[in-house]
Structures are given as structure tokens and as C-alpha cells.
């Protein structure tokens, strides 16, 4: 009798443990989805700022058309991307193009003094921060999910929870990669 109770108790504990491990995977998977949605929201915000920004800069620096075109083209690409890799690539290009645009504005003191531009600049730099924190949060969540998928005992429930390892959000930023130039 005692043995049966003990066996049942152990089985119950094991079952509970299994359920918890499986739930951990499901939850981690949901967190990754939510984190990706946050990146999307912030990218959309940034994208909404661009027409206004381009118009404002155009008013002071109409002949810098190549810079505007780069920004507008990158924005168009960003709105159509869906997979993590595509979104990340388009995000990287738009970040680059915006950096170019802001570099151009350095040459126009009138523009830099305009209150409209200052407000836009604050909005844009805050949105850039939000985008990069959203990326970081997404990657942290992917890290948690992927390590739960690989480690025991949650690794046993990958199939039943219907989760797969997710890709990291990697922005290809030439500024990060640039090797220091050596001159002789």
C-alpha cells in the first residue's frame, strides 16, 4: 500500500514537472512573438516620422535630393519586409539612410535652429533608442527560448509544445564592422 502511494506521488511530481517545463517553452515562444511585435511597432513609428522629416529638411536643403531618395527608398523597403532577416536588413538600411540625412543637416544652421526640426530630432532619436531597445529585448527573449529548447528537461517537450528555435535580430551596421584603418 505504502509503495503504491509513493509511486503515485512520484509520478504526480514528475507529471507536474513535465507540465511546467512544457509551459516554460510555450511562454518563452509567446514572449518572442510579443517582442517582435514591439520591434514592428517602433519601426512603424519611425517610418511614420520620415515624411515629415524629409519635408522639413527639403524646405532648407532642397538640392540634397540623393539623400532624400535613399531615405524614401529604404522606407519603402522596410514597409514590405515580413521575416526577421528581411525586417532586420531593411531596418539597417533605413538607419544608415537616416544617419546620412542627419549628417547633411549639419551643413544648414537655419534648419538646425528651427523648432520644428528640433522637435522632430528629439522624436527621431527617442524612436531610434526605442527601436534598439526593442531589438535587444527581442534577442534576449530568443536567447531564453533557444536555450530552453536545447537544455534538458524542456528539450523533451519541443515537439509537443510546437516551438522551434528562432533567429536573432541582427542588424548589419557597417559602422560596427568598420575595421580601424592603418596608415603607414
Amino acid at each position: 500500500m505504502k509503495v503504491i502511494v509513493l509511486v503515485i506521488a512520484i509520478l504526480l511530481i514528475l507529471a507536474l514537472y513535465a507540465i511546467m517545463s512544457r509551459n516554460r517553452l510555450v511562454r518563452a515562444n509567446i514572449s518572442v512573438d510579443e517582442a517582435f511585435a514591439q520591434i514592428d511597432t517602433q519601426l512603424k513609428r519611425r517610418s511614420d516620422l520620415i515624411p515629415n522629416l524629409v519635408e522639413t529638411v527639403k524646405g532648407y536643403a532642397a538640392h540634397e535630393s540623393s539623400t532624400f531618395e535613399a531615405v524614401i527608398a529604404a522606407r519603402a523597403k522596410a514597409t514590405t519586409a515580413t521575416t526577421v532577416a528581411d525586417v532586420a536588413a531593411a531596418d539597417g538600411q533605413l538607419t544608415q539612410a537616416l544617419r546620412g540625412l542627419l549628417a547633411v543637416t549639419e551643413n544648414y544652421p537655419d534648419l538646425k535652429a528651427s523648432t520644428n526640426f528640433l522637435a522632430l530630432q528629439e522624436e527621431l532619436s527617442s524612436t531610434e533608442n526605442k527601436v534598439s531597445f526593442a531589438r535587444q529585448f527581442y534577442n534576449d527573449n530568443v536567447r531564453t527560448l533557444n536555450s530552453a529548447i536545447k537544455t534538458f528537461p524542456s528539450s523533451l517537450f519541443v515537439k509537443s509544445a510546437g516551438v522551434t528555435a528562432r533567429p536573432f535580430y541582427e542588424v548589419d551596421d557597417p559602422q560596427d564592422r568598420k575595421a580601424p584603418q592603418v596608415k603607414f
Binding site: 514591439q38 527617442s126 533608442n129 526605442k130 531597445f133 535587444q136
Partner: protein
């Protein structure tokens, strides 16, 4: 230094301290049983009940109470766009909902966060801190405060306060019973008791409130250290918070409200000064906190 390792080390340490408090409760109950027999245990529910009542009401409504006590005014996105953006950025990094944001009219640079859960959180800044700190430093401060929210430090300190309060009440009850009415009971129950055990239990009852206070303060210090590390996990930028703490260290003005009731919630304690012994402070010394952040930056 890796913030993930530091985070789990600090969490483990504060859990150990909470277990230490539970152990202390066990020891006090043992002392009660030794000294008064089974009847002594009867007062435990009363002490715990009173402590629960006094702490948990203020825990549950902490966001509202603290706003009233400190005179903080809630600000909206339209009132202070930059501050709202700054807090929102950190919340995205932490994966937390944006809390209520408040400003306290005070020249001393300081900040705090409270609330029973992330959905009822409030973060407050003094007008002084908004004036003396730049954006990067304020981001560090915000991350430290949001770290308290993420780590549920209002709950942790409520648990610590309840336990310490219950122990203080218990010890007080018992010492009164010994003086006024304990004689009879002792004759009935304790004739066969080991006198050494009686003396030990007396010492336990006298020292328990002090031990509980020290444990409570140690927990507070560990949670502060943890919040610094968690802040770095949010921003990945130890420099911002380190510079912010250096600004606080250089500043000699102190928040006017010296109410001990809310002292522990500020980022820099308004009560602790160099004369306060390390054992009795709610925060680790600023120099230690700065040194830890420097180690995370890789400079020593």
C-alpha cells in the same frame, strides 16, 4: 564582469537573507515554547496579524500613499515629452508597461519607484535630478528604478517589514508577559526545563527584534545592489548609471523629507550618511556601487 552572473548572485543572496528571516521566526517560536510552554505559541497569530495589517495595506496602495507622502505630482506625456520618452525607452528595454511618472518639487537630486506590481507602478524624479543630470545619466537612474519594479522590490520589502514587525511585537509581548504575568506559567510548565535553554530563549527574545532589523536592512542593501545590476541588463550601459551615482556622490544637498517611512525607496538614501554604520544603512555605500559599475565597464 558579466551582469547575468552578478544578477543571479544578488538574487541568491537576498533569497538567503529572506530564509534567514524565516529561520529567525522559527528560533523565536522555539524560544516561546521553551519559556512559556504551548500557551506561548498562542500569541503568534496575533503578532503576525497585526504586522500584516499594518504593512500590507500600505503595500497594496503604495503607489498612492507614497505620492501623498512625498508630494509628487503625476505628469503626462504632454507635460514633459522628453521625460516620458526616456521612461518609455527603458520600459521597452525591460519589457514592462510604462508606469505613472511623477515629479517631486525638491532641489536635491533623487528618484524613486514603488507600486505593488508593474501595472500599478509609479516612478518619481525630483526637479533637482532633472536639472543636474544629462539624458544618459537619467536613463541610468530610470533603469535602476524600473529594475526595482521588475524585481518586485516593493513586495520583497513588504515581506521583510512584516516579518521584522511581527518579531518585534512577539518579543515585546513576551517580555511583558515575563515581567507581569509570567511567574505562574513558569511554575506550571518549566520546572523540568533545562536552565540553559531558558536563558538561551530569553536572550533570543531580547535580541530577535534587532536581528530582524539588521536582516531587513541587509535585504534592502542587496536589493539595491541587484537593481544596479538589473539596470545594466536593461540599458547595457553601466557608464550612464555610474556617472549618475557620481553626480549623487558629489552633491551634498539632501531630500528635505527625512521621513524614515519612505527613506528606503529613494535611489540615494536621504538618511544614510558617512556617520551611519554600514550595518544600519538601507543602501550600499555609493563608492561600492560605483566600483561595481566600473568593474562592469571593464575599468578599475
Amino acid at each position: 564582469m558579466d551582469f547575468r552572473k552578478l544578477q543571479s548572485a544578488n538574487k541568491l543572496k537576498s533569497t538567503e537573507l529572506l530564509f534567514g528571516m524565516a529561520l529567525l521566526v522559527g528560533v523565536v517560536i522555539w524560544a516561546l515554547m521553551t519559556y512559556f510552554g504551548k500557551t506561548g505559541v498562542g500569541v503568534v497569530p496575533f503578532a503576525v496579524g497585526i504586522a500584516l495589517l499594518s504593512v500590507w495595506g500600505s503595500y497594496w496602495t503604495s503607489d498612492k500613499i507614497v505620492l501623498t507622502m512625498t508630494g509628487a505630482k503625476i505628469v503626462t506625456e504632454a507635460d514633459n515629452k522628453q521625460l516620458y520618452d526616456l521612461v518609455t525607452e527603458v520600459c521597452i528595454a525591460a519589457g514592462l508597461p510604462v508606469p505613472k511618472i511623477a515629479i517631486v518639487e525638491d532641489n536635491a537630486p533623487n528618484a524613486f519607484a514603488t507600486g505593488r506590481n508593474p501595472e500599478h507602478a509609479v516612478i518619481a524624479f525630483t526637479t533637482g535630478i532633472l536639472r543636474v543630470m544629462n539624458r544618459e545619466e537619467l536613463q541610468g537612474v530610470t533603469a535602476h528604478e524600473m529594475a526595482h519594479v521588475a524585481n518586485r522590490d516593493t513586495l520583497v520589502s513588504a515581506i521583510a517589514a512584516t516579518t521584522a514587525g511581527a518579531l518585534a511585537l512577539l518579543s515585546d509581548f513576551m517580555l511583558r508577559m515575563m515581567i507581569f504575568g509570567g511567574g505562574n506559567r513558569r511554575d506550571n510548565n518549566n520546572n523540568d526545563q533545562n536552565p540553559l535553554a531558558l536563558i538561551a530563549s530569553l536572550v533570543v527574545l531580547i535580541l530577535a527584534p534587532l536581528a530582524a532589523l539588521l536582516l531587513r536592512l541587509a535585504i534592502s542593501r542587496k536589493r539595491e545592489a541587484l537593481a544596479d545590476v538589473t539596470a545594466v541588463a536593461f540599458t547595457r550601459n553601466p557608464t550612464g548609471l555610474r556617472r549618475a551615482l557620481e553626480v549623487l556622490a558629489a552633491d551634498s544637498t539632501v531630500v528635505h523629507q527625512k521621513s524614515t517611512a519612505v527613506a528606503h525607496i529613494w535611489i540615494e538614501s536621504p538618511l544614510d550618511d558617512s556617520k551611519t554604520s554600514k550595518l544600519f544603512s538601507t543602501h550600499p555605500p555609493l563608492a561600492t556601487r560605483i566600483a561595481t559599475l566600473r568593474a562592469m565597464e571593464g575599468i578599475s
